[in-house]
Amino acid sequence: NNAGSEKKKAKKMAIVVSTLNNPWFVYLAETAAAKAKALGYETKIFDSQNNTATESDNFENILVSDYCAILFNPTDADGSVANVKKAKEAGVPVFCMDREINAKGFATSQILSDGFSGSVEIAKYFVEVLNKKGSYVELLGITGDNNTKARSAGFHSVVDNYPELKMVAQQSADFDRNKGMEVMESMLQAHPDIVGVFCGNDAMAMGAYQALVGAGKEKTVKVFGFDGAEDAVKSIKENKLTATGMQFPKIMAETAAQYAHEYYNGKRDFEEKIPVAVELVTAKNVDNYMGYGKK
Amino acid sequence: MLVTKNITKRFPGVTALENVSLRVDAGKVTAIIGENGAGKSTLMKILSGVYPDFEGEIIFKNKPVRFAGTSDAQDAGIAIIHQELNLIPYLTITENIFLGREISNALGLLDKKAMYARVKKLLQTLHLEVDPATLVADLKVGQQQMVEIAKALLLDADLIIMDEPTSAITESEVETLFTVIRKLRSENKAIVYISHKLNELFVIADQYIVLRDGKTIENGRMQNITHDELITKMVGRQIVPMQKEFAGGTAPELLRLENLCLKQKHKTDKLSNISFDVKAGEIVGIFGLMGAGRTELLETIFGLHPAESSGYIYMNNTILKVAKPADAIRAGIVLLPEDRKKDGLVLGMEVRKNISLPCLQQVETMGFLNESKENFLAKKYIQQLGIKTPNEKQITKNLSGGNQQKIVLAKWLERNPKVLLLDEPTRGIDVNAKNEMYKLMQELAARGMGILMVSSELTEILTVSNRILVMAEGKITASFSAGQATEDNVLKAAISTN
């Protein structure tokens, strides 16, 4: 523990986010920045563009321009490890937000939203709403993306135990609203009789819903999303989407910033993993929620 | 040396060659003559392996041969200078000449010194004073033509085909070429020589073969035939040579240049203080050796060098500002450029579209292009200029060289311009068509058009011009009325630099 020996770094925090091409992460990054500013730090947001190599570039650039901490949203649980290692060696603490890295002892703390158990929650509700039978389809996010894998895995860990719930199609729509709509349109042609859609994020869910409206099936097919985006919460209120998994980017971002602040002031012992539960949002409890968080 | 039996070649819509049989002897220069589109180039392309698919057979050095590609032909010992330039613009002269047969050292590295030296010698024998390291893109057509010749010579083949090698060069270069040819002949090589400049043939050729409409009409020895007989054989009938009558003279002045200059960085100006005028109905011929600046002169008048040029251009005594060709065209000045491939035609476009390009408004009805009008226009000029093409919808690229040249002229006539700038207008055009062209020029002049013609063919200049200007190194060195001008006083003026 070289804590004492360190010279005080400038009050500058770097926020490295996996992508800004998706509102959820924009929100994560901006809340983190806002909180850090409030705590009296300069901040700068780095966009890794869903590319772990770009993330490395960002880290290297950060490490030459003395930041006191990195609030980090990794692009990949495995790929990002090397980067965090580099930071640790350079004595810059890393606080992971939302996504974890598969390695102990490198990140000072990881404030994680557990996509897996989140989608487990959704899956349970999914089974309940469809009362254990019927055919459904799944919209995956960007192939090869962490969240895509975690959420799909969590969902199936539950749903696959119900033989009468049959997945008739599984397609990727890249977390994109328009793609989500178009793929859904085509799937509806092949499977007019489905009763449910599970989507890897809310953007795709909204797109899928749009497609259902177009086909006049919005009443008969239940749409499930993930994220807790503003649009999604709103449309659950209006009984359009059936449910989504509310993550709490605000909490994660602000905790990360807070911890970084405490670290700066000398605190060293942090819980390495702090799970932030994903809450199921449905028509019943939607009134307690707003975009990306609780009211 | 080489014998062909019943060669036939068909293109969609055209039979270019039909049962052509001929023989070419070693140690002789065989001239192939024929009108534009007679099939000369096609035949040569077959002999040199460009077109592997054809009917009939070729016997070369007493062995039947069939070339799969140009490299086969080269290996067998056949070299060709193509009618259309085939050089790589952004490679140097040396790189072009050695392309495909570079000299490499033991390590496989290019031996640039050796190649450079070799080319320098080659260019010297051709009296081409340019650095072998010059990019071909920076050479004028004439100079490029010489490079093509050098390229063919490098192969030292047994049969050398020259398809209109002199179309872009001036008498002096032609002379050097001929000395080279004579040397080759003395080395007992066979030369096939294609040219529309008949008097060249009488100087250099030993025997002739006449092609008409893709068929061999006749062959014989050059001594036993006269100029006119030869023409009659190619055309199939007598042609009346144009008689020059003196127009112009007192007619009102149309175009006037005052101190026209064209600067170029770190070089002597390409044009310095050019002043002269062109009267309505007058044909002014400009003669000069290659590199005299004639092309630049026409280009400058046409507004292609606005940045570097200075001086004044008057149209009907009112000053004219030309910043771009469009301005010149609007004022009634049009240019028939020196290099039709590069500046004259959109080769990938149909004949009719090339013809109508500068005058689309003529073929519009209510803002929309009218196809029948366009076809009519095209047909008119195909007929008037005798352009040899299956129909007006043929892709221009597929026309023979000479016929392409006619299209470049056709596309301007419809605009009936006031001043016609012609840069080597009869390049690659057969005698008959040439004659027609001269008549046409007079006709246009008679209609009050002013014509400024650059040509490297002295005879041509003397035949058509009412007045002759001579250029050397960017200056006008002499001016003759048609009466005074003679072969040698014009040539003298062209060579003298002050």
């Binding site: 599984q170 | 959109v346 476009m349 390009l357 408004q361 292009l369």
Partner: protein
Amino acid sequence: MNLALHKTDFGKLQSLIALFILCIVFGLLSDKFFTVANGLNVMRQISVNICIAVGMTLVIITAGIDLSVGSVLALCGAVTAGLLKHGLAFPSINLFVGFTILGAVLAGILVGGLLGFFNGFVITKFKVPPFVATLAMLTIARGLTMLYTNGFPISSFGESFTFIGAGWFLGLPVPVWIAAVIVVAAILVTKKIKLGRYIFAIGGNENASRLSGIHINRVKIIVYTIAGALAAIGGIIVTARLDSAQPNAGTSYELDAIAAVVIGGTSLSGGRGSIWGTVLGALIIGVLNNGLVLMNVSPFWQQVVKGGVILLAVIIDKLNTKNE
């Protein structure tokens, strides 16, 4: 070169064959493929790509390229959405301008046109290669979109606007009508008026065109402006369909558009091509995407198959054109 000739004449026909084969195969593999509903579905889905690809065709015929269409689409969609939703506010002079749907749509198209004009201007006046100029615009326009939207979507505009993207008219989806109008107009331009002829001439031989008195720069600028405006229309359709303007809309749409153009037999070296061919190209891509989903090919395999089929489509095309 004869190849070239035949290409322009029959190129379309060739792609048509490829398209037929494709349809037959999917028809055999999925009974859902040959349904009216699915047909309309495909048409609706390709209409945006067609809007963009038509502009791209004109640009490519002049031997240029426009990589910026994707982000121009996003920006214009966002602008239209923003104006509809929040209008224009000038707090300083406390002035607020509200926008009717028509107003917002026209404003969006105007912005697209301006961006296109800028492309054309840079390309002609500064002689910047089209690839670089429009690549720069690709990043710039995307950045502006992010700045304008702060990276968040702008959503829910109400029936009368979404009609543009989701509505129906005379039994066809509105986007299909829009695309159809654009295609017809473009065919007129390319075949029936001077501008079209100049576009081909410039692509075929810029020198010769200049010496024929064509105003090269003017024509090029017009073409890029059109491309920008068409991208904008595409953006408005997307926004209306989703009832939401996504800041990351249109990402890599340029590739789909260019693919449609090239599969349609237009040569990237300029001078040759046809709108009609582009439409077929877009159809091939659209049918492919749709069919693969219908058959529920796994996302991984989809990419492989898609690439393979596009290749085959073009090869069939070429093989047929070879034997003139």
